[in-house]
């Protein structure tokens, strides 16, 4: 999705966002969110186009996109399972939940099931240590995950 | 403990010598007696040996290399060898530690790229000039990869030219370690 292929609606949203900030660089995250809403992920071409629009080096956009786990640089399935594997969650058994999910879905972390329904990733802290081990599916948080609860959840989502 | 001290004092103080010692004559005779005793004893043993007797007594303590060799100690520093990886290639990564530490400057390494980026570096050539080597074993101690050892127990590598004294990587790789057995035992070599 290069600049030419940006929809008019997206372009107008971007210019609206840009107008909000005195520093164009500051508009980067809202613009990236807008782009992800549009196509579900942010392609390398989109990154380049956004860099051009904001007027910053393309590598800065790449750094930003790769830094945040909320920003996806490749398409995800219908359900994007993000397991926290940071300290608190791992101590409480996050790795078993991840293993259970991998077994059930037949994928490794970072992969998408063949039917494009599930994408499984492990992420650093979700900021929900009080709920650990925590799992984020799309925009919803699930607390105190264990292998059984993951299995139940996956059955439900199917 | 006291006897060596006394002997020292006697040596330092000529007064302590007795009259007969000062004439030297008895002492000279004692010296001659000692050496002559060895002479006749060994002569006798050798004659018996010629007759096939007394084979268990040695007329000469010296090891008759190369007919006889002693079992070398595992600590002995002998001819170098380069150790190999499982696939037979040298373990050496051409880090030049041995070349750097070598006090005789007898190691010459040229480094080159290894196809595997995890190994990254390998020796294109690895020469040891044994004509210069002083067998200090620093190269073995300094090697971070255990790539060079001096446990072949090969000691006879003399050659007729200086060039032949330079062992290249292939010769060094072909050397094998020697199993250590019977340290100090004298063995006949066929």
């Amino acid at each position: 999705m290069s600049l030419q292929s940006f929809s008019d609606r997206l372009l107008s949203e971007i210019s609206e966002i840009l107008a909000r900030y005195p520093q164009p660089r500051a508009a980067l995250l809202p613009i990236l969110h807008a782009c992800q809403r549009e196509s579900g992920y942010i392609s390398r071409d989109t990154e380049t186009a956004v860099a051009e629009l904001v007027g910053i080096p393309a590598i800065d956009v790449r750094e930003t996109v790769s830094f945040y786990s909320l920003l996806l640089d490749k398409p995800a399935g219908k359900y994007h399972l993000q397991f926290c594997t940071n300290l608190s969650c791992t101590l409480l058994g996050a790795e078993e939940s991840v293993a259970a999910a991998c077994r059930k879905l037949g994928v490794h972390p970072g992969e998408t099931t063949r039917d494009n329904r599930f994408t499984l990733t492990t992420v650093e802290c979700l900021g929900a240590c009080d709920l650990s081990p925590s799992l984020q599916v799309n925009d919803d948080y699930y607390a105190n995950m264990s292998a059984e609860k993951v299995n139940e959840l996956l059955d439900k989502l199917k | 403990m006291s006897r060596p001290k006394d002997a020292m004092n006697r040596l330092r103080d000529p007064e302590a010598l007795s009259f007969w010692q000062r004439t030297y004559v008895p002492e000279i005779l004692r010296g001659l007696k000692l050496t002559a005793a060895h002479f006749f004893r060994n002569l006798l043993i050798h004659i018996f040996h010629l007759a096939g007797l007394w084979k268990d007594r040695r007329g000469a303590e010296t090891v008759q290399y190369p007919e006889e060799v002693r079992g070398y100690s595992p600590r002995l520093r002998s001819l170098h060898r380069l150790t190999k990886r499982d696939d037979g290639s040298p373990r050496c990564v051409a880090c030049m530690m041995c070349e750097t530490i070598c006090p005789a400057r007898c190691i010459y390494i040229v480094a080159t790229e290894h196809p595997d980026p995890n190994i990254e570096k390998r020796p294109a050539s690895f020469d040891i000039d044994l004509g210069k080597c002083v067998f200090c074993g620093f190269c073995v101690e300094v090697c971070p990869e255990d790539a060079i050892r001096m446990d072949t127990h090969i000691l006879n590598f003399a050659a007729y030219s200086r060039q032949e004294m330079v062992w290249d990587i292939n010769r060094l790789l072909s050397n094998e370690p020697q199993r250590v057995e019977g340290i100090g035992e004298i063995r006949k070599v066929k």
């Binding site: 590598i59 790449r62 750094e63 790769s66 830094f67 945040y68 | 880090c95 750097t100 040229v110 980026p117």
Partner: protein, 538 residues
């Protein structure tokens, strides 16, 4: 102007100066990875933590500004413990491949670990594997496992070269240096990232496995690549010639000079040293007749040259001699040649090769004039002012006025004006370091020493005379130009002493104000990127 105390010593620094700068003013070295004086402060490595009295915890010296009455300690136990912990952390994923790493010997990670490290490792976990040893540009090799993410290279590409090729992508222990999509690190200054990389993550492709750095000797020099005259260090290996296949000069590194090149140099200059050990180097005196070329001794060659000059003056006067100089010669060589020319009355002198065209230039270091000493030639007046280019000399040859021409370094055979007329000369003498078209047709070829093989000075485009020192001995029978002229001049009643280096220098200083004392003090080597490597003791 705050005054502060560091390790018991008082120092007053300008407002806004950091503790790091204050310590440096006192000669106290604080270890650092991400800090580089030529780059924006990142404050990410935490290696420069120091103890500040009345502060609740340690603070980084590279960012914390000096304040009035501040009392700083750089060697106390908490500071040492902090450094130890930082090093332990940095090494948690750093591979221990020092044996194969080109950086070892000049690696800050090695050096600081030797000084402050935690020698008993507590690390049991598996190290993270990353991509190793892949080229990211024409000159640079990247090893992501070795990277400690100090971001010096990223900041260099942002701030100095402004080409923005590099960035740090991903988060946490997955972070690594990456190239911009579809690009290579191939800007005009890419070699500098190798210099500023404190570890072996960025290494030089050309220098790769050529020589371990502890075998290198260093000499202070001046880059001859363009008229900027960047201060450089020549790194040469004469101790272990087999390692680099007999090549002596192996790499150039920039040397700090606040007014000329700061900490940097361009790739063109950095890799422009190949000619020093190139196969095209002239190593013998050659006397060529129509039939054959013979190798001569220095004495024979000097005798021949003196005979030809004397003979030409006797038969046709000193007007029949021409000298074509080169702006690649040092001030001392030029001055010596000029002195001799004045003595025997040669005024047919120039240095401007009509075939030379201005090269690439930018607004940072690279100059269009690719000769290091054009300004020196101009200041010394070794050209005909009434002409725009050296082409006039071709006319003189054409008219039969100039019969013997001595060419220094230049390839006149490339210039159309000269191509036609060189054949008309009675004698063509070529003095140069490398073989070229002119050397092929010259009747006497004199091998000369390159800038790495002699002492001297270049005057840069701003008129700054800068001294360079000899690194290696001249190859083969090569001689410095001033020495050659001295040997010839003896036959013409001059004293050899007049061409001695000290004499030439003092004469130059007396006659030419641009040649000032200050800039010509012996250049000092300063290792600005890394802590000093041990000098070759072997």
């Amino acid at each position: 102007m705050p005054t502060l105390t560091i390790d018991g010593q008082q120092v007053t620094v300008s407002k806004g100066a950091t503790i790091m700068q204050a310590a440096e003013a006192l000669g106290i070295y604080i270890p650092r990875y991400c800090y580089h004086p030529g780059l924006r402060v990142a404050g990410s490595c935490r290696m420069c933590l120091v103890e500040i009295e009345k502060a609740p915890k340690l603070d980084i010296a590279c960012y914390r500004q000096a304040a009035e009455g501040m009392v700083v300690h750089t060697t106390t136990e908490p500071v040492k413990l902090a450094r130890q912990s930082i090093l332990e952390f940095l090494l948690s994923n750093h591979p221990l491949d020092c044996p194969v790493c080109d950086q070892s010997g000049e690696c800050d990670l090695q050096n600081f670990y030797m000084e402050f490290g935690l020698y008993q490792s507590r690390f049991l976990e598996n190290k993270i594997k990353r991509r190793k040893a892949f080229p990211i540009g024409r000159h640079v090799m990247l090893d992501n496992e070795r990277c400690i993410l100090c971001s010096r290279c990223v900041r260099f590409c942002e701030e100095v070269s402004r080409s923005h090729e590099l960035g740090i992508v991903n988060r946490g222990d997955r972070s690594e240096i990456a190239l911009r999509e579809g690009s290579q690190l191939d800007n005009e200054y890419s070699g500098n990232v190798i210099d500023i990389c404190p570890v072996g993550a960025l290494t030089e492709r050309e220098f790769r496995f050529q020589c371990r750095v502890w075998y290198l000797n260093r000499a202070a020099s001046v880059c001859p690549g363009c008229s900027r005259g960047c201060n450089i260090e020549l790194h040469y290996n004469v101790n272990r010639p087999h390692q680099s296949g007999g090549k002596r000069v192996l790499r150039l590194k920039p040397r700090f000079n606040a007014e000329v090149n700061k900490w940097w140099m361009c790739d063109e200059g950095r890799y422009g040293f190949e000619f020093i050990d190139a196969p095209s180097r002239l190593q013998d005196f050659e006397i060529r007749t129509a039939q054959r070329t013979v190798v001569a001794s220095r004495e024979q060659a000097v005798q021949t040259l003196s005979d030809w000059i004397g003979d030409s003056i006797d038969r046709h006067g000193s007007q029949s001699l021409g000298i074509f100089l080169s702006p690649k010669l040092s001030n001392e060589d030029l001055y010596g040649i000029g002195k001799f020319a004045r003595h025997v009355g040669i005024d047919c002198l120039d240095f401007r090769n009509p075939s030379e065209r201005p090269g690439y230039q930018d607004d940072f270091l690279i100059q269009a004039d690719k000769n290091p000493n054009t300004r020196g030639c101009l200041e010394l007046g070794l050209y005909r002012r009434s002409e725009d280019s050296g082409g006039w000399m071709a006319g003189e040859i054409q008219r039969g006025k100039v019969r013997v021409l001595i060419v220094f370094l230049q390839d006149l055979a490339l210039a159309p004006e000269f191509q036609q007329v060189l054949g008309r000369l009675e004698r063509l003498v070529f003095v140069g370091s490398n073989r070229n078209g002119t050397a092929e047709i010259a009747s006497l070829v004199v091998p000369s020493a390159t800038y790495a093989e002699k002492d001297g000075s270049f005057t840069n485009f701003e008129g700054r005379a800068q001294r360079f020192e000899r690194a290696v001995v001249p190859l083969g029978s090569a001689v410095a130009e001033a020495d050659l002229v001295a040997s010839v001049a003896v036959s013409f009643g001059m004293q050899r002493e007049e061409f001695e280096r000290e004499r030439l220098l003092s004469d130059l200083r007396r006659e030419y104000p641009f040649f000032d004392q200050e800039a010509l003090n012996p250049p000092e080597l300063e290792w600005v990127y890394q802590t000093p490597i041990g000098q070759e003791r072997l």
